[in-house]
Amino acid sequence: MTDYEHVEVLLVEDSPHDAEMTMHALSDNKFLSKVHWVKDGVQALDFIGCVGEYAQRDPSQLPKVVLLDLKMPKVDGLDVLREIKGNERWRGIPVVIMTSSNEDRDVIESYQLGTNAYVVKPVDFLSFTEAVVRLGMFWLLVNKAP
């Protein structure tokens, strides 16, 4: 039985290796227990909305930050972002786009949809780890959530 109540970071990432590396980076800094990983947009929305697989989850417990990949099968990152920012109850959840794309149009559209940050995943693992750790630190420790 998974304990969803302590989830503070929702990681939406279709690449298992990227997900593993992200969680590894966070684990080094003791955030691991608070991370939940879903593989696509549908699961992400199910988790936040407490439906389907996540029906028993307490809807009042919102993640402190969503790390969201853009390019995913079925419902992609921009769709998830649109859903979250278009929902009155969820709008307050900080969403950080974490993607390989540094195409201008992705950046622009993400901010138009209301993302809180846009991070291009570095190819270099060390830079990547550093970026993830900084993100975690900022959104979980520094940032004051509503």
């Binding site: 690449s15 590894h24 390989s100 794309s101 990547f128």
Partner: protein, 517 residues
């Protein structure tokens, strides 16, 4: 041999002019206008002739009157002369007779000639006068020839006969003369009437001429101007891209113009259709192009996403291996891991450069004046700091240009960085930036005293991923010069290089001049 007569050229002969043509109609109208004038002229001529005839006849009558008076006078002179001689035997009295003898035959002969239109009775009288006059002259001649005339019995008898003849002549000549006088008066009066008629005829001709001319002008105005207005309206409709309308009927020059206008309208319509067609194909081509562009975008988007993720994994997992399993690896194992990480890093760079290059082709370009001296100096200063070498970097005064400042900065960045990189093996590396205005172009050069290259590879320099040195000698992906070429080309300029192995290289590019006009 030429068969038959060639067709008449237009306008060569009046007879061959088509009366349906405007020219033919014009000629016809002028002809119609001239016809009454010609008739009037003919009648004037006739009148004039008659008048002249009457005058001539009057003159002839005059001379006949004169001749009859003269005849009478001569007869009297001759008789008086003969009587005087008989009485005195002085030959001086014979002088009038002698001069009469000379003149009389001619006068008598005149009375024997019948004049034109002279009635038979009048001519009979005239002949009778001539006969009697001849007889009188014969009698007078006989008297003078009689020997010893004064005493002869024959002389008084002859004189008596002569008196009878003279009386007869006087009886004949009186009515004759009065008739001639009447004729003269009649003919004079006729001539005066004819002259008055001539004046009327002239006036009538003038009036007819004016009336005919006005009629011709009005007819042409109606026929020509009205239809010309129709044709003009058609050309205006063509200009306004409207329907031309119905062609004029007929066979004259205006109809020919109208036909030409219709042909022109058809040609214009055909050309318009062509333009529409080529516009359509242009639009299709544009759509294809924009489809291709979208495909390219999608492609580079995928490259950006999907090519990076595996590299990140390779790098990430090898680093975890290095860190978490360091104790299980010997020196060679650690070297192999380092190579994996290095190559993964290079792959990342290649992908980034490739994406950058593809983005350049699609990026919207800004346009504005660019001070190339300032821009090149900023870049040069940055490169000198970044390189950490003792390179001597000089930037001269450069001509201005127009374009996208950020993109042009990248051109300087790539060229100056290259120059610094390839001269870094020299003891005293020198990089010089210069430029000059050449007509409507600004030309810029970046020269170095570095390794240079063989000109036979020059054509490869500006292609993507083409390098003339191994990565061991000089680092780099081979995209920098391709980016330079693409930016310069998008500004309407050209990039080229000249070099010699081990003797430095000069990279040059031209751009449109940006000097204020």
């Amino acid at each position: 041999m030429n068969g038959g007569r060639s067709n008449a050229q237009p306008g060569v002969s009046l007879l061959e002019t088509d009366l349906r043509s405007l020219r033919g109609q014009a000629l016809l109208c002028v002809g119609l206008a001239l016809l009454p004038t010609l008739l009037a002229l003919a009648s004037i001529w006739q009148l004039e002739r008659e008048t002249a005839n009457a005058v001539r006849q009057a003159e002839a009558s005059d001379s006949r009157l004169l001749a009859s008076e003269s005849l009478m006078q001569r007869l009297v002179d001759a008789e008086t002369g003969v009587r005087g001689y008989l009485a005195t035997h002085d030959r001086l009295f014979l002088d009038p007779y002698k001069s009469s003898v000379l003149v009389m035959p001619g006068l008598i002969e005149g009375f024997r000639v019948r004049r034109l239109h002279e009635p038979e009775s009048v001519f009979a009288q005239s002949t009778l006068i001539a006969d009697e006059s001849q007889a009188q002259m014969t009698i007078l001649g006989e008297i003078l020839r009689t020997p010893d005339g004064r005493n002869s019995v024959a002389v008084p008898r002859a004189l008596r006969r002569g008196k009878v003849i003279m009386d007869a002549i006087r009886r004949l000549i009186g009515p004759y003369q009065s008739r001639e006088r009447t004729l003269i008066a009649e003919r004079r009066a006729g001539a005066i009437a004819d002259r008055a008629g001539l004046g009327y005829a002239l006036a009538a001709t003038l009036v007819l001429c004016i009336a005919a001319s006005i009629a011709v002008v009005l007819f042409f105005a109606k026929r020509v101007v009205g239809r010309l207005a129709t044709v003009i309206a058609k050309t205006e409709r063509i200009a306004a891209n409207q329907e031309v309308g119905v062609p004029l009927r007929g066979n004259d020059e205006i109809v020919a113009v109208d036909r030409a206008v219709h042909l022109m309208a058809i040609a214009i319509a055909a050309r318009n259709a062509d333009v529409v067609l080529s516009n359509e194909s242009l639009n299709e081509r544009n759509e294809e192009l924009s489809d291709a562009n979208k495909e390219l975008e999608t492609f580079s988007y995928s490259v950006s996403h999907d090519l990076r993720a595996p590299i990140r994994a390779i790098d990430g997992y090898s680093r975890r291996l290095q860190r978490e399993y360091n104790g299980h690896l010997d020196v060679e194992g650690r070297r192999l891991l380092a190579v994996i990480q290095e190559e993964a890093g290079r792959m990342g760079e290649l992908i980034d450069d490739l994406l950058e290059f593809s983005r350049l082709g699609r990026k919207e370009m800004k346009d504005g004046p660019v001070d190339m001296t300032v821009l090149a100096r900023e870049v040069a200063a940055g490169e000198k700091n970044a390189s950490g070498t003792n390179v001597s970097l000089a930037v001269g005064t450069l001509p201005h240009t127009r374009g996208d400042r950020a993109l042009l900065r990248q051109v300087w960045q790539n060229l100056i960085a290259n120059a610094v990189k390839y001269s870094s093996t020299q003891v005293e590396p020198v990089v010089t930036v210069s430029g000059s205005a050449e007509g409507r172009l600004s030309v810029y050069h970046v020269s170095d005293n570095g390794v240079g290259f063989d000109m036979k590879y020059a054509h490869k320099l500006f292609a993507v991923f083409q390098r003339l040195h191994s990565v061991d000698e000089f680092s780099g992906t081979g995209v920098g010069l391709a980016i330079v070429k693409r930016i310069v080309a998008r500004h309407g300029g050209r990039a080229w290089a000249t070099a010699e192995p081990s003797n430095g290289a000069i990279f040059s590019f031209s751009l449109p001049s940006g000097e204020p006009e």
